[in-house]
C-alpha cells in the first residue's frame, strides 16, 4: 500500500509525516501544484505553516491544485488524514466540519497531551479501541476547533467526533474538548495534535503510530474489529 503526503510551500511536518507513513507502508510526497495523486491508497495533509498561515491558516493552501484531487479522492471514499495545518486546510476546504480559531491563550502552545479515541471505526483509528488514551504532542497557535452548537450536536450524534482531549488537557479552548473530527462518511479525519511526532519512544511516545497502522489494517482488509 502507498500513502501520499501533500507538500505545500510552508509545510514543515511533511517529511516527518512521510517517515511515519514509511513505517507502515510505502510513502511519497505529493507536490501542491500537481493534480495527480499518483494512485496512492491514502492521503495525509501534513502540519506546518502553508503559505505562512497568512490571512487564515489553510485559507490559501486549500486552493492548491492538489486539493481538488484530494477532494475527489475523499468523495470516492479514499482515506484522508489532516494533521494540524492539514486539519485547518481540510476545514477551510469544507472537507471537514468546523473551523480552527486562535488558541484562547493567543499563544503558540507546544505540549504533550493525552487524547481519547472517541470513534475507533474510521480508517485512521481502526487499530484503536474506543476510549483508548493516546499520548501525542500538540503544537499550534490556531487550534481552537469551533462549530455552532447545532453542528456540534449533530456531529456528536453522528459519531463524527473522533478524538477528544482528555479532561484537563485541552490546550487551546476547543469546543467540548474536541481534538479531531471526521467527515460524514468517516473516511476524512482531521486532528490538531501530531501523531507523526509520536511514532518512536526514542523521541517521546509511539502512540501516534496507531493512526498509521490503522489505515494499513483498514486498507489491506485486515478487517476492522
Amino acid at each position: 500500500m502507498r500513502i501520499g503526503v501533500v507538500r505545500f510551500p510552508g509545510s514543515c511536518d511533511e517529511t516527518d509525516a512521510l517517515d511515519a507513513c514509511s513505517l507502515v507502508a510505502d510513502a511519497e510526497l505529493l507536490w501542491h501544484g500537481s493534480t495527480d495523486l499518483d494512485a496512492v491508497d491514502a492521503v495525509v495533509v501534513p502540519g506546518g505553516f502553508s503559505y505562512g498561515d497568512y490571512l487564515r491558516p489553510g485559507a490559501i493552501a486549500r486552493f492548491s491544485p492538489v486539493m481538488e484531487a484530494v477532494a475527489k479522492f475523499a468523495a470516492d471514499g479514499g482515506p484522508v488524514l489532516g494533521i494540524c495545518n492539514g486539519f485547518q486546510v481540510l476545514c477551510e476546504a469544507g472537507l471537514l466540519p468546523g473551523a480552527l480559531l486562535p488558541n484562547d491563550s493567543l499563544r503558540f502552545v507546544c505540549r504533550q497531551v493525552d487524547l481519547i479515541v472517541e470513534r475507533p471505526t474510521t480508517p485512521w483509528t481502526a487499530a484503536c479501541d474506543a476510549g483508548e488514551r493516546l499520548s501525542i504532542p500538540s503544537k499550534h497557535a490556531n487550534g481552537r476547533w469551533y462549530a455552532d452548537p447545532d453542528t456540534v450536536a449533530r456531529l456528536e450524534s453522528n459519531g463524527q467526533v473522533v478524538f477528544r482531549y482528555a479532561p484537563g488537557e485541552n490546550p487551546n479552548g476547543s469546543v467540548a474538548d474536541i481534538a479531531g473530527v471526521c467527515s460524514e462518511q468517516g473516511n476524512v479525519v482531521g486532528l490538531m495534535p501530531h501523531p507523526e511526532h509520536a511514532v518512536d519512544s526514542l523521541t517521546g511516545s509511539a502512540d501516534g503510530l496507531k493512526l498509521f497502522s490503522s489505515v494499513l489494517k483498514e486498507r489491506t482488509g485486515a478487517g476492522i474489529s
Partner: protein
C-alpha cells in the same frame, strides 16, 4: 572613476554616518579621491563596528580556532565540526538593539538572520537556541520585551519548521533599557557539500535570490548596531524590519535543493549591510571583483537610490555565484519554490566592487579597502577601582528561614520554570528531539542510524552569567564555558566546539575594554582546557543605556557528541530507591550568587577558584556514568546552589529525596560554583563506583529533606517546590 562622482557628500556626511574624520581621511587616501554617495554608504557600513569588528578583532585573536574535529572555522558564515560522518554547523548571533526597539520583529529577524548563516553553508537548520536578558520583570517594559521577544522567536522558528530546543533567560536591572536577544542555530550538512562564500570563476554570474528589496533597516548596521541607544530611539524606528518566515522557508528549501543539484559555486546570506556586505565578502574571499547592476535588483518600492539598494537590509535574501550554463537550472528551482531569482551581475578579475545603474557606473571600490583596510583599534583597558554595578534592590532578608529562602529562590524569575517560555516554541519538529527542554540539562538530537543500527546524537546547550562575569570577567567567562560543558556531560555528551556572542558595553571606555579582554581570555582558557575550538560567533558592543552599561555578558553555545541517542539521562529523579551522589570539586561561595543578588548585594568579590583538572575529571566521570547507564539522572549545580539543584531534581522528577550534607548554612546550601558540581542518581552500587562520587542520600518520599551531621534538618514537600517553581515566571506571562 564613477560617473556620479560629481555628487560628493564629504566629510561631515561621513561623520553623520558614524565614521570618524580620520576614517574618512583614510578612505579618501585608499580611494585616491573622495567617495561619492554610493561609495560612502558602503564604507560607512562595512567600516562600522558591527561589520568590521574595529574594537574586537585584535582581542578575538586570543581565541583558539583549531581542532581536529573542525571542518569550517571562523571567517565563514558559521563554523562546523564533524560528527558521525556529518558536518554540524552552528553559530550564535545577537539582535540586541533591534529587539530593544521592536522586540517581536527584532527577535524574529534575529532568528531569521542566524538561520541564513547556517543555510549559507548548505546545512539544514535542525535546532535553534536562544539566550535572553531583560531588566527585572517587575518592570512593565521588561515584561513587554520578554513577552514580545519570546513571541517573535517562536513565530519565526515555529513557522519555518526548525525546533527551538533550548535557551536561557536572565533578569538583571542592568538590562532594563538594553535587553539582549542572542539566537543560536545548529545545522546538519553533508561534509562534501559544505558551501563556501568565496566568489570564484571570472565570468560566473551573481544571482540574488529571495525577497524583494525595500528600504528596510537602511543604515541599520551602522545606526542601530553600533551606537548606544539614546532618547531618540524613535527616529530610528522607521528602520524596523519585518520578518517573513514563509519567504525564508522557501529560501531554505530552494537553497538546499540547489546545492544538492550541484548548481552553486558559492552562497552567502544577506545580513547586516545587505548586498554591500555579502557581495564584498564574497569578492574578498575569492580574491576577485564583482560588477553589480542595481537596476536589475527587484524592488518593493519604486525610486530607490542606488545607495539604498546597496545597503538595504531587507530580510530573506541570499546571494549566489553560478556558472553561466547553470543559471537556467537555478531559475527553474527557484520558480518551483515561488522564489524570486535575478541575475544582477558578474564575477570579474578587477578585484573592484563596481556598482552600475544600467550602463552608468555609480560606484567603484577596491574590494580590499572595503573588507580588509578598515582600521582596527587597540583597546585601552583599565581595571575599574571599584565595582561598576549598583546593588540591586533587596527582596530577601539577610537571615531567613532556610525553607522559605529555598522557595523564594525557586519562585524567583531567574530560577523559576521556563515552561511559559519554551511552550511557545515547537521543540519537536523534524523528529530528532530525544530530550526536550526540562527533560535534561542539554537538548539531545538524534542523528541517522549508522551501519550497526544505533543512532548517534548531538547535544546542544547555551549559557552565560553576566553577574559572575561582572565580578570577575576572566573567571566568570571561564565558568560559562565550564557550565555549558557540564550541561553536555549531564546527557553523556563530549564537547566538540564552541560558539560565542560577546555582549558588552562601549569598548572605548577603559573598564569595558578590560572586561572584554579578560572575558575573551577566560573563554580561551576554557576552550583550551576542553581542547575544543571556537568555530565562530558574534560581537555586540555599545550595549549601554542612559543608566549605564549592561553586565558584561559573553554567551557560550556548545555542541557535543553522543555515541547512542538512546543512552542518556534526565535532570529529574526518575524513581524511588536510587542513590544520590555529589560529583565534582564543588566549593561554593555566595559571591555574585542569585541569593546575594536577592539580598541586595552588588555583583562583586572573588569567585571560587577553578581546579581545572578535577573539574574536567568530574565532567568525564558524569559523561562516562551516563554512557554506561550507571547514572540515570544528572543535573549540574548552578544558580541557587546545591539546595536549588536538589529541588529541581525533585520538581522535574517523580519522587522526593533525603540527603545529608556537612553544614546547613547559606553557603553550602545556596552558594554557587558553576560548572564544577553535579547531582547524579542511579542504583547504589553503580553510583558508588563513579570516580569522585560522594553518595549523599537516596530518592524517595514526598519531600525534599536535607539534614546535616548534627541532625539539623529542612524539609519541603515536592508539591510546594513545584508550585513555587512553576509560578515564578508564569505570573509575568499570563
Amino acid at each position: 572613476m564613477p560617473a556620479s562622482a560629481d555628487s560628493i557628500p564629504g566629510r561631515e556626511r561621513a561623520i553623520e554616518l558614524a565614521l570618524t574624520g580620520a576614517e574618512y581621511d583614510s578612505i579618501v587616501e585608499l580611494l585616491g579621491r573622495e567617495p561619492n554617495e554610493v561609495e560612502l554608504a558602503m564604507y560607512s557600513l562595512l567600516w562600522s563596528e558591527h561589520c568590521a569588528y574595529k574594537h574586537s578583532k585584535k582581542v578575538l585573536r586570543r581565541l583558539p580556532t583549531e581542532g581536529e574535529r573542525l571542518l569550517l572555522g571562523v571567517g565563514e558564515n558559521a563554523g562546523a565540526v564533524g560528527v558521525a560522518g556529518l558536518a554540524v554547523a552552528f553559530k550564535v548571533e545577537s539582535h540586541n538593539h533591534p529587539s530593544a526597539v521592536e522586540p517581536f520583529q527584532g527577535a524574529a529577524t534575529g532568528v531569521g538572520g542566524i538561520l541564513r548563516d547556517v543555510i549559507a553553508l548548505g546545512a539544514r537548520p535542525v535546532a535553534m537556541l536562544d539566550s535572553l536578558r531583560f531588566g527585572y520583570p517587575s518592570s512593565a517594559r521588561s515584561r513587554w520585551l520578554l513577552d514580545r521577544a519570546v513571541a517573535g522567536i517562536g513565530h519565526y522558528g515555529n513557522s519555518i519548521g526548525v525546533p527551538t530546543v533550548g535557551g536561557e533567560i536572565h533578569f538583571d536591572p542592568s538590562y532594563e533599557s538594553n535587553c539582549l536577544v542572542n539566537a543560536m542555530c545548529v545545522g546538519i550538512a553533508d561534509p562534501d557539500r559544505l558551501m563556501r562564500c568565496a566568489a570564484t570563476g571570472v565570468g560566473n554570474r551573481v544571482i540574488l535570490m529571495g525577497a524583494l528589496t525595500g528600504r528596510d533597516g537602511i543604515g541599520g548596521a551602522s545606526v542601530l548596531a553600533s551606537t548606544e541607544l539614546g532618547e531618540d530611539d524613535a527616529d530610528k524606528r522607521p528602520t524596523v524590519q519585518i520578518g517573513d518566515p514563509f519567504a525564508e522557508k522557501k529560501v531554505l528549501e530552494a537553497c538546499l535543493e540547489l546545492i544538492d543539484s550541484d548548481l552553486l559555486v558559492a552562497l552567502q546570506d544577506l545580513g547586516a549591510a545587505g548586498l554591500t556586505s555579502s557581495a564584498s565578502e564574497m569578492a574578498a574571499q575569492g580574491e576577485v571583483g564583482l560588477d553589480v547592476d542595481v537596476a536589475k535588483v527587484p524592488l518593493r518600492e519604486a525610486d530607490m537610490e542606488p545607495f539604498e539598494i546597496m545597503v538595504s537590509e531587507s530580510q530573506e535574501r541570499m546571494l549566489a555565484i553560478v556558472e553561466p550554463s547553470k543559471v537556467d537550472a537555478v531559475k527553474a528551482i527557484c520558480d518551483k519554490w515561488e522564489l524570486l531569482c535575478t541575475d544582477i551581475g558578474v564575477v570579474t578579475d578587477t578585484r573592484h566592487m563596481r556598482i552600475f545603474r544600467g550602463e552608468e557606473l555609480v560606484g567603484d571600490i577596491p574590494v580590499t579597502t572595503l573588507v580588509d583596510d578598515c582600521p582596527l583599534y587597540d583597546l585601552a583597558p583599565e581595571k575599574p577601582a571599584q565595582g561598576l554595578y549598583p546593588a540591586p534592590p533587596a527582596d530577601l532578608p539577610d537571615r531567613g528561614d532556610t525553607a522559605e529562602t529555598l522557595l523564594a529562590l525557586l519562585a524567583g524569575a531567574n530560577i523559576a520554570s521556563r515552561v511559559p517560555v519554551f511552550e511557545q516554541y515547537d521543540s519537536i519538529v523534524q523528529a530528532r528531539t530525544v530530550r526536550r527542554p526540562d527533560d535534561a540539562d542539554a537538548a539531545v538530537l538524534a542523528l541517522p542510524a549508522g551501519e550497526d543500527g544505533t543512532r548517534p546524537a548531538i547535544a546542544v546547550s547555551i549559557d552565560g552569567n553576566g553577574r559572575r562575569v561582572a565580578a570577575d570577567p576572566n573567571g566568570g567567562a571561564l565558568e560559562a564555558v565550564l557550565e555549558c560543558a557540564a550541561n553536555l556531560a549531564c546527557v553523556g555528551a563530549q564537547p566538540l566546539g564552541l560558539t560565542n556572542c560577546l555582549n558588552f558595553g562601549n569598548p572605548e571606555k577603559p573598564h569595558t575594554a578590560w572586561q572584554l579582554i579578560e572575558a575573551v581570555d577566560g573563554l580561551a582558557k576554557g576552550c583550551e582546557a576542553l581542547g575544543i575550538p571556537v568555530v565562530g560567533g558574534n560581537v555586540s558592543l555599545y550595549n549601554e543605556g542612559p543608566d549605564g552599561p549592561i553586565l558584561p555578558t559573553p554567551v557560550v553555545g556548545m555542541v557535543g557528541e553522543m555515541p547512542d541517542a538512546s543512552v542518556t539521562s534526565t535532570s529529574g529523579f526518575a524513581r524511588e530507591g536510587l542513590a544520590i551522589a555529589l560529583v565534582g570539586p564543588f566549593e561554593p561561595s555566595l559571591v555574585a550568587s542569585e541569593l546575594a543578588a536577592r539580598r541586595g548585594n552588588a555583583p562583586e568579590g572573588v569567585l571560587p577558584s577553578v581546579a581545572l583538572e578535577s573539574v574536567l575529571a568530574a565532567h568525564a566521570a558524569v559523561r562516562d556514568g551516563v554512557r554506561s547507564g550507571a547514572i540515570e539522572s544528572a543535573h549540574d549545580i548552578s544558580e541557587g546552589g546545591l539546595a536549588v539543584a536538589l529541588a529541581e531534581c525533585v520538581a522535574l522528577g517523580s519522587v522526593g529525596c533525603a540527603v545529608e550534607v556537612p553544614e546547613l548554612d547559606d553557603v553550602s546550601l545556596f552558594g554557587e560554583a558553576p560548572g564544577r558540581g553535579f547531582i547524579v542518581s542511579g542504583s547504589r552500587e553503580l553510583v558508588e563506583a563513579i570516580p569522585g562520587a560522594v553518595v549523599i542520600g537516596d530518592t524517595g518520599g514526598p519531600n525534599l529533606t536535607i539534614t546535616d551531621s548534627d541532625g539539623e534538618r529542612v524539609s519541603v514537600a515536592a508539591a510546594d517546590l513545584r508550585e513555587a517553581r512553576d509560578g515564578g515566571l508564569r505570573r509575568f506571562l499570563p
